[in-house]
């Protein structure tokens, strides 16, 4: 993958993820973690190579078919990307509203906010929330649609150690419920503690640490282009 006419930021990246698995994505700043996540959540298409997601070649997918695919992916952005003009509960409801949900989703959103410890901040605007609260709100928004794939970019980067523990347990809980989870992090404490497979990016190339990711071919693949494109 490359941006415009610049040099390739990702190359020779090839792997498959098993449904329901948990993975850490690690690497130094500038190694390509954010670029790989952007390919994951379909904000970019590969400049060469093939990405197969949910059985579809996303590089060849018509643009109008991307939203349906994106709704199967939950993303926790490093900078949260909450909509400041909406309340906390409206932010959480947003993915379901976009998917055509009616007012009945409000109860679900409130339940989820309670679960992440924001029961008393339902109607607060994101600008009035602390970093940890925003993080939990972003997580609630990411998971409300029960995504098949959850991506979290440095989800513990802005919070204190206690909050980091709570958030990580949230991810583990979601993963146990069947959501494939990829967590990009610098926090090696959690990587070592969970002993989960680790995708380590170094200068745009991928190394797998901690065992084989998966041999299941059906979920997600970032492969070199067999057609030589």
């Amino acid at each position: 993958m490359r941006y415009g006419l610049g040099s390739e930021v990702l190359r020779n990246v090839s792997f498959e993820l098993k449904p329901g698995s948990l993975h850490f994505l690690t690497g130094a700043s500038g190694a390509g973690k954010s670029s790989l996540l952007k390919l994951f959540y379909l904000a970019h298409r590969p400049s060469r190579g093939i990405i197969t997601m949910f059985g579809r070649d996303v590089g060849a997918l018509p643009r109008h078919e991307l939203p349906a695919l994106r709704r199967r992916i939950g993303v926790v952005f490093q900078d949260f990307r909450l909509l400041d003009h909406l309340t906390a509960v409206e932010n959480v409801m947003l993915p379901l509203r976009i998917a055509g949900g009616d007012d009945s989703i409000r109860g679900h959103a409130e339940e989820l906010l309670t679960w992440v410890g924001l029961a008393d901040r339902m109607n607060a605007r994101p600008s009035t929330l602390s970093g940890g609260e925003k993080q939990r709100l972003a997580i609630a928004r990411a998971v409300i649609g029960q995504p098949d794939l959850l991506l979290a970019d440095e989800p513990t980067g802005n919070v204190d150690p206690d909050m980091a523990d709570r958030l990580m347990h949230l991810f583990l809980e979601l993963n146990r419920l069947g959501t494939t989870t990829v967590i990009a992090t610098h926090d090696m404490h959690w990587v070592e503690r969970l002993n989960a497979p680790q995708m380590r990016l170094e200068k745009g190339e991928l190394a797998v640490v901690g065992g084989k990711l998966s041999s299941a071919p059906s979920f997600t693949g970032f492969g070199s282009d067999p057609h030589g494109r």
Binding site: Y41, L42, A43, H44, R45, R63, H64, L66, P67, A68, R70, R71, V75, F77, R81, L83, D84, H85, L86, E90, M93, L94, P95, R97, I98, A99, G101, D102, D103, S104, R141, G145
Partner: protein, 294 residues
């Protein structure tokens, strides 16, 4: 139960365009309203004047002695009354002629001070009008000094004027429409730039282009309608004022300039047209911009 509408884009983020755009559209609708009102009024008035004048002749008899003038006038009235295809023939009395001259030379007993010509007003039959050439022959036989005016030169100039006014009005409306489209495109691009991060987030969450475009088109419909109504009210005030002055000015010369009910409907549709132009332009602009995103 229907879902309460959730605004996915903040209306406060691009407040400047929300504040200014209705005023710009108000100016556009005001200019279009004046141009259209002018064109419609001229169209209606010219049709009214031309309808009257196209089947009328005026015979002017200018003979220096009163007896000869009256004799020729009586002969002309008799000859034309007997002619086929003539509906009515009437000699105007001095008071009517004085009334026609009043706007130019003022009131008073002009008949006593000036040698007034005899004017004979001839109205042709609507179904089978007499030929002007035939009537001219009959008049020349009994009144060789008579001048016959079938108003064709005046009508031709009137039609030219009406065409020019309407073409100018149409040009103004087209230019104003294009300017409105350009302004809405600029406003939409400014809105897209303001909301770029939010739009990217919405895309990642799974929002379709038409959802985002719908947000913009509703906003621009609302702003267009708001500005359009203000512009129409201001235009109505100006049109009413001009109409009053014009009616006073033209009384006794030509039929008053009027705007009929169907013309009013056209003018009333201007804010709706402005709102629709804004809405469609915003939608097309947003859809085109979003297609360039992943």
């Amino acid at each position: 139960m229907a879902a309460k509408k959730l605004s996915i884009l903040s209306s406060r983020a691009d407040q400047s365009s929300s504040d200014l755009l209705p005023w710009v559209i108000a100016v556009m609708v005001y200019l279009s309203g004046l141009a259209l009102a002018g064109a419609l009024a001229v169209h209606g008035s010219v049709a009214s004047w031309a309808g009257d004048m196209s089947r009328r002749l005026t015979v002017e008899i200018t003979v220096s002695d009163d007896a000869g003038r009256d004799r020729q006038a009586a002969a002309v009235v008799k000859a034309l009354t007997a002619a086929p295809g003539v509906d009515s023939v009437r000699r105007l009395d001095n008071a009517e002629i004085a009334a026609l001259l009043e706007p130019w030379i003022g009131g008073g007993d002009v008949a006593a001070d000036l040698p007034l010509p005899v004017l004979v007003d001839v109205v042709l039959d609507q179904e089978s009008p007499a030929s002007v050439a035939d009537l001219k022959k009959r008049i020349e036989t009994v009144a060789p000094n008579a001048v016959i005016d079938d108003h064709q030169q005046w009508l031709g100039q009137l039609y030219d004027l009406a065409w020019m006014v309407q073409a100018t009005a149409l040009t103004i409306v087209v230019m104003v429409t294009l300017a409105t489209i350009a302004i809405v495109i600029f406003g939409t691009h400014a809105g897209l730039a303001t909301h770029r991060d939010t739009i990217e987030t919405l895309h990642v969450i799974g929002a379709e282009d038409k959802l985002i475009a719908g947000e913009f088109q509703r906003r621009f419909l609302r702003l267009g309608l708001k500005g359009g109504v203000v512009g129409l009210v201001l235009a109505a005030v100006s049109i009413f004022a001009v109409r009053s002055i014009l009616t006073d000015l033209t009384t006794g010369i030509v039929a008053p300039v009027t705007i009929n009910q169907s013309d009013l409907l056209v003018l009333a549709a201007l804010p709706v047209a402005a709102a629709l132009i804004s809405m469609i332009t915003a939608r097309v602009t947003v859809m085109r911009a979003l297609r360039r995103m992943v």
